[in-house]
């Protein structure tokens, strides 16, 4: 059972364009939604995160949009750069219970062409 569904699986964008990655979740107990960025040969690193009490969070060129009623959230990368080429993972976690486990989406391989 995949609790966090991520799309698309891969994405090719031209430099300067907007990259959009979408995620949907099923568990309404999820209350923390981070995005991780992974470069080839490296471990994932936290990029940006949002809680469901806000609909949008922006950090530089990266924005998370959150739609609680639709149980969807997305990552927007404005002015995409070749250095943004990486695999992006959405994730979700619940503070209910004592162990905060991250459930990851399957990842999106982003390629930004120069």
């Amino acid at each position: 059972q995949q609790q966090v569904k991520q799309s698309p699986q891969s994405l090719i964008v031209q430099k300067g364009g907007i990259s959009i990655i979408n995620c949907a979740y099923e568990n309404t107990a999820f209350d923390y939604f981070p995005w991780y960025q992974q470069f080839p040969g490296k471990g994932p690193a936290l990029l940006i995160a949002i809680r469901p009490d806000v609909s949008e969070k922006k950090e530089g060129r990266f924005t998370i949009s959150f739609n609680k009623s639709a149980k969807q959230f997305s990552l927007h990368i404005m002015d995409s750069q070749p250095g943004d080429s990486a695999t992006y993972f959405c994730a979700a976690s619940s503070s209910g219970g004592s162990n905060y486990k991250l459930t990851f989406g399957k990842g999106t391989l982003l390629t930004v062409n120069p």
């Binding site: 471990g43 995160a49 162990n99 905060y100 486990k101 990851f104 391989l109």
Partner: protein, 113 residues
Amino acid sequence: DTAVSQTPKYLVTQMGNDKSIKCEQNLGHDTMYWYKQDSKKFLKIMFSYNNKELIINETVPNRFSPKSPDKAHLNLHINSLELGDSAVYFCASSFDRGSYEQYFGPGTRLTVT
């Protein structure tokens, strides 16, 4: 300074062997994790320890045994390795069990032949 380090970075071994992967974090975090990333890049949690206590144990074959000698170290021992164990294994840590931000190590690529 490396925050979360793993050794070895690459591990090639034959089926049936036993191997260990070591992880150390110098962040002063209480909670550590092991993840498996398969060939399709899917990341799945395997285990988590909080201050040397096992707190998350996903559905993982009992050939996999984590050990935490202290809160800065979390090792993964794998017995009777199988072809399907080939993957990249990531260690991660977080401030405590209630902290959502996890810091990942560089990964160990395990290849079983």
